[in-house]
């Protein structure tokens, strides 16, 4: 086997590529050629490494030296100093609070994280199944299909307390059990990769960085519920994730880890991709099923639930990308291991895309129940340029805001709803005092108005009416009565909409009204936008 003394891991996640990562990689390849180092240094393109704001990034092993904000011009110095002389290029290291950090593990960004879902992201080449297998990939699937019954699998997932990471937090083991009990010749597993919240990219990063973890989770789910066929519903706006998934599926099939008689057993399972056109509503499971069937992406009424009658009328389990990425770890290390992290009712970890007004934005993973303050200030490094924290939005257009006085709230499925926010899929947008909360609510509502499928009246007409009122308020023409109408209307839409999109669409408005009512009143009574965002007429 060919061995290399240096592995240069270049982040090839969408964030770093957008920041110019390819240019750096090409320059690095050229420098290696010029210095005759191509036989000694291996360039590995990985998925997202996390601190996206500091990209393009590279980590150089064996010492794990981490370089940030790389440009093509830096390649020569890194090759001559680090690769040839073993001297880290200090000016390219991670700098924070006047300190320099040599490796990722030294940084405060990393110190408070726990990586289960992102265990391989940024560490392996996602386009090489052998690197995944080296990290224990597919061993859990092997164990499940050779040593366990479907009921054993369901029991361990139930015992782990894993809850759906798509947002609603439904217990995964219970969902599998319900599907297992259905009597049908055909059952389906669907992976929901239709991540649509503005600013959220956790699922995309998992698929780009460790696609096999999701394929393995799906195959295990297939065994547990006695299904032989899975679909990944992924939005076409994720071309890199799609490409890596296609490669992963192909390699898994060639290795006999997907397809007929996996690892020589009687269990067969295969996976196909279905590309969505990017409608937000298709993240809702019944709309997703319609779209997968080739129909218009409109939600169906429930019951019947997908586990009873889903894709093509057959029992169907729909799990989120992150949920599935947890499965093989739970099988490998046990339910008790998983329960070490998180809280009693929300065990495990959660990936967040920490974006907005924080010093170090990026992809993170923390134990559930981690206080918001830890995420924003310890991991995210606080608010830039001397500004102050005003609020954080969780759950995107379906979620709500958490104001500064609740910074110590544990981020889990129990505590967030008490503030009118939701866990959501993991988008976390940090705002400082320059954001107007009425404008923020308007932004999210405009998003849902655009994305409403129009099937039911409360969502189609109601959200439009709410948006009209918000536009009135932000242009200085609102009345105090409007605030009451907003609340009434919002509550009716929540109660009467057909699907999750409408049922949660008023949340950004209702939660800002709850926590920042003064700001609404200033717009209405004083005709002033305290954050100087809205232009009053």
């Amino acid at each position: 086997m060919k061995t290399y003394r240096i592995h240069a891991l270049v982040c090839a996640g969408t964030q770093c590529l957008a920041a110019g990562g390819n240019g750096f990689k090409d320059a690095l390849i050229e420098e290696l050629k010029q210095h005759g180092l191509t036989e000694e240094v291996l360039i590995v393109e990985t998925g997202c490494m996390g601190s996206c704001q500091l990209g393009p990034r590279m980590v150089v092993y064996p010492e794990g030296i981490m370089y940030t904000k790389l440009s093509p011009e830096d390649a020569k110095e890194i090759v001559e100093e680090d690769f040839l002389k073993g001297r880290p290029v200090k000016r390219l290291l991670w700098k924070q609070d006047e300190k320099q950090f040599l490796t990722l593990h030294d940084t405060p960004f990393f110190a408070k994280q726990t990586r289960i879902v992102l265990r391989n992201c940024g560490f392996i080449n996602p386009e090489d199944i052998n690197e995944c297998i080296a990290q224990g990939g597919y061993e859990s699937l092997g164990k499940v299909i050779t040593e366990m019954t479907p009921k054993d699998v369901i029991k361990i997932i139930k015992d782990s307390g894993l809850r759906g990471r798509g947002g609603a937090g439904f217990p995964t083991g219970l969902k599998w059990e319900l599907a297992n009990k259905q009597i049908s010749d055909t059952k389906y597993i669907i992976c929901n990769a239709d991540e649509g919240d503005p600013g959220a990219y956790m699922n995309r990063s998992v698929l780009e960085g460790d696609p096999h973890s999701v394929l393995e989770g799906m195959a295990i789910a297939g065994y547990a519920v006695e299904s032989q066929k899975g679909f990944i519903y992924i939005r076409a706006e994720y071309p890199l994730a799609i490409k890596r998934l296609e490669i992963a599926i192909k390699q898994a099939r060639m290795s006999g880890l997907l397809g007929k008689n996996i690892l020589g057993t009687n269990f067969s399972f295969d996976i196909e991709l279905r590309m969505g056109a990017g409608a937000f509503v298709c993240g809702e499971e019944t709309a997703l099923i319609n779209s997968t069937e080739g129909k218009r992406g409109e939600p169906r009424k429930k019951p019947p639930y997908p586990v009873e009658s889903g894709l093509f009328g057959k029992p169907t389990v729909i799990n989120n990308v992150e949920t599935l990425a947890n499965i093989s770890v739970i099988i490998e290390k046990g339910a008790d291991f998983f329960r070490q992290f998180g809280t009693e009712k929300s065990p495990g970890t959660k990936a967040f895309s920490l974006v907005g007004k924080v010093n170090i934005a990026g992809l993170i993973e923390v134990p559930l129940g981690t206080p918001l303050r830890t995420i924003v200030f310890d991991i995210g490094g606080g608010i830039p340029e001397g500004h102050t924290f005003k609020a954080a939005q969780t759950g995107g257009p379906s979620g709500g805001v958490i104001p500064a006085k609740h910074l110590d709230i544990p981020m889990d499925y129990e505590n967030l709803p008490q503030l009118g926010a939701i866990m959501g899929s993991g988008g976390l947008i940090v705002m400082d005092e320059t954001s107007c909360m009425v404008d923020v609510a308007k932004f999210f509502l405009k998003f849902t108005v655009d994305e409403s499928c129009g099937k039911c009246v409360p969502c189609r007409e109601g959200t439009r009416q709410m948006l009209n009122i918000l536009e009135k308020i932000t242009s200085g023409k609102g009345t105090m009565e409007d605030l009451e109408i907003l609340e009434k209307l919002g509550n009716v839409i929540k109660l009467t909409s057909l699907c999750g999109l409408g049922q949660t669409a008023p949340n950004p408005v209702l939660s800002t009204l709850r926590h920042f009512r003064d700001e609404y009143i200033a717009h209405v009574k004083d005709k002033v936008c305290p954050a100087n965002v809205c232009s009053m007429k």
Binding site: E40, Y61, P62, E63, L84, G86
Partner: protein, 124 residues
């Protein structure tokens, strides 16, 4: 890419694949520290490094990491090599590419210190 036909085959492939990832892992059996050539004048360190890599490759040994080191004091002359194995740290001072091959073959891979060439100095 061949079909993996059983869980035992999968575990075997895992072991083989792990060998390839040793450079990225925290724990390896052998850490090899090698001096580097300086700016203007080469001291022969690069030739030692290349011989080391070649010997490791020839003997199909992958449980190692190579770490480059600058000058560390007048008692250890360049080119030097240090082997960290079984919790022990041994220096070899002023070596040639052929000595490097011998040190790799007997000390790094088999764990037998080449006492004739080993320096008295302890930790790095």
């Amino acid at each position: 890419m061949e079909k993996i036909k059983s869980i035992d085959e999968l575990r075997k492939l895992k072991e083989q694949s792990q060998a390839f990832l040793k450079t990225r892992q925290k724990d390896v059996k052998v850490k090899i520290y090698i001096s580097v050539d300086q700016e203007e004048n080469t001291n022969g360190s690069r030739d030692v490094l290349l011989a080391t890599l070649d010997e490791l490759q020839k003997r199909d040994f992958s449980d190692f990491q190579i770490i480059e080191r600058g000058p560390i004091g007048s008692d250890i002359k360049e080119p030097f090599m240090a082997i960290e194995r079984d919790g022990k740290f041994i220096y070899y001072s002023n070596i040639t590419p052929n000595m490097a091959r011998e040190i790799i073959a007997s000390h790094a891979i088999k764990g037998q210190i080449v006492s004739n060439w080993a320096s008295k100095r302890g930790n790095l």
